[in-house]
């Protein structure tokens, strides 16, 4: 989980939001399959080195958003049919990621067609690993 989910306390976004977004991304990319068991709050907090309350808060938001589901006395699971990002959320996240990628491409002296090739290749490699068509 730790390898897949990275948080950085020094970033602007609060830790719980970083966890929330990280989990959403993992679910969307198939890194976390529908119905998969989530690590316990205690384990995830220790893995990430963050306060358990932060993880609780992230999980709460994810449960409210329907991404995760709690089965009483059993644990927290990825929802069977996790909702996709809302259009506005998706646009914001894509814009942010694209800006970062575009900046990297520009500073290395690449052009748009080359950058697009790399983007497509990365896309393929991730979706293949995630096992999602």
């Amino acid at each position: 989980m730790k390898a897949l989910l990275q948080v950085d306390p020094a970033e602007a976004a609060p830790l719980w939001r970083q966890i929330e977004e990280g989990v959403r991304r993992l679910v969307a990319s198939g890194g976390l399959a529908a119905g998969a068991l989530m690590p316990s709050v205690r384990d995830l907090a220790r893995e990430l080195g963050v306060n358990p309350n932060t993880v609780v808060k992230a999980y709460q938001h994810l449960v409210e958003a329907g991404v995760l589901a709690v089965r009483r006395g059993d644990g927290t699971y990825v929802a069977d049919a996790p909702p996709a990002f809302r259009a506005s959320e998706r646009a914001a996240l894509l814009r942010e990621g694209a800006l970062r990628f575009a900046a990297t491409a520009l500073t290395t002296g690449s052009d748009l067609p080359e950058a697009t090739t790399f983007l497509a290749a990365a896309w393929k490699s991730i979706t293949r690993k995630g096992g999602k068509s």
Binding site: P9, R42, A45, R46, G49, N51
Partner: protein
């Protein structure tokens, strides 16, 4: 749960400490609510030692006072220490006693003692039980001190720079143990530290002590949302009147441009002007601390 939940875990009111003419602590006030993790940051000589001593009832303040779990700590120290675990800055156990003897000593003073939990911690920490305390490594001393402090299942844990001088592995183990304790028991934690990167993901609330005054006291999330760094290209420094609405704390110019740490408003609005060179970034706790308190040299422990 119990009646103590009605009180703050720590209530520090107008705490002042003087040594002759020197004012070591000037009217410091803050509270720590049950379940919170409060990190007190300050350079050496900031008044931190005096504050911690008053907070534990080791020293009588010149003015003001401290309540722990709703009781005055100076007059009710003995009773309170049944419910408060402490890890001191300097490893303070008698050097001739072995961990086994220390465990017996501390367990004997408490009516409740979590034997299973203590054994589990000792196993995790791999502390040798029959080596005199004075001969243990710095990390083992800190880990044993933490084990002793957690033994009676305290409601409040006070840690005075517990990771000072520890190697990265021992430090990680100490934080792991704290996170475990937080997850299992939701213990309130008051911690002073120089390890800003280590505490950043754990603290709920932060206080910054400087020159005997509590410069800042607030939720970490809110502090980080409020403080931003604005940086610019060489020779394109923002004019003071442009920065003024955002309450700059610290403005610096260098060969590669300059930067300002601002403390209010939304500085991203500056980007709306024709300034592609401007960047607005979040600050790490360490950067925030340096911006507020000054010189970087003392921050690294």
């Amino acid at each position: 749960m119990t009646s103590h939940q009605a009180f703050p875990a720590v209530d520090c009111r107008n705490l002042s400490v003087r040594y002759g003419r020197i004012q070591a602590l000037d009217q410091a006030s803050f509270t720590v609510e049950p379940g919170q993790v409060y990190a007190l940051l300050g350079r050496n000589g900031s008044g931190k030692t005096s504050l911690v001593r008053c907070l534990l009832g080791h020293q009588k303040p010149f003015a003001g006072g401290v309540d722990l779990l709703g009781q005055d700590v100076w007059s009710r120290r003995t009773e309170l220490m049944r419910r408060v675990g402490v890890v001191a800055e300097e490893p303070d156990a008698p050097p001739a006693m072995t961990p086994r003897q220390l465990l017996r000593f501390c367990a004997g003073l408490h009516s409740r003692w979590d034997v299973a939990g203590t054994d589990a911690r000792l196993t995790r920490f791999r502390v040798p039980l029959d080596v005199p305390f004075g001969k243990l490594s710095r990390g083992q001393k800190a880990q044993l001190a933490l084990t002793l402090a957690l033994g009676p299942g305290p409601e409040l844990l006070v840690l005075d720079d517990p990771t000072l001088g520890l190697d990265p592995v021992a430090r990680r183990e100490v934080y792991d143990e704290l996170l475990r304790e937080l997850a299992d028991r939701g213990t309130t934690i008051f911690i002073t530290t120089h390890d800003l990167a280590g505490i950043e993901g754990i603290a709920d609330r932060v206080g910054i002590l400087h020159g005997g005054r509590l410069l800042l006291d607030g939720s970490l999330e809110e502090l980080k949302a409020r403080h931003r760094r604005v940086s610019w290209a060489p020779f394109r420094a923002l004019r003071p009147e442009e920065l003024a609405p955002y309450a700059p704390l610290r403005v610096r110019e260098g060969g590669l441009g300059g930067e300002a740490v601002v403390s209010q408003g939304d500085p991203t609005r500056l980007l709306d002007g024709d300034r592609p060179d401007l960047q607005v970034q979040a600050l790490s706790l360490e950067e925030l601390f340096v911006a507020l308190v000054g010189a970087e040299s003392e921050v690294a422990s």
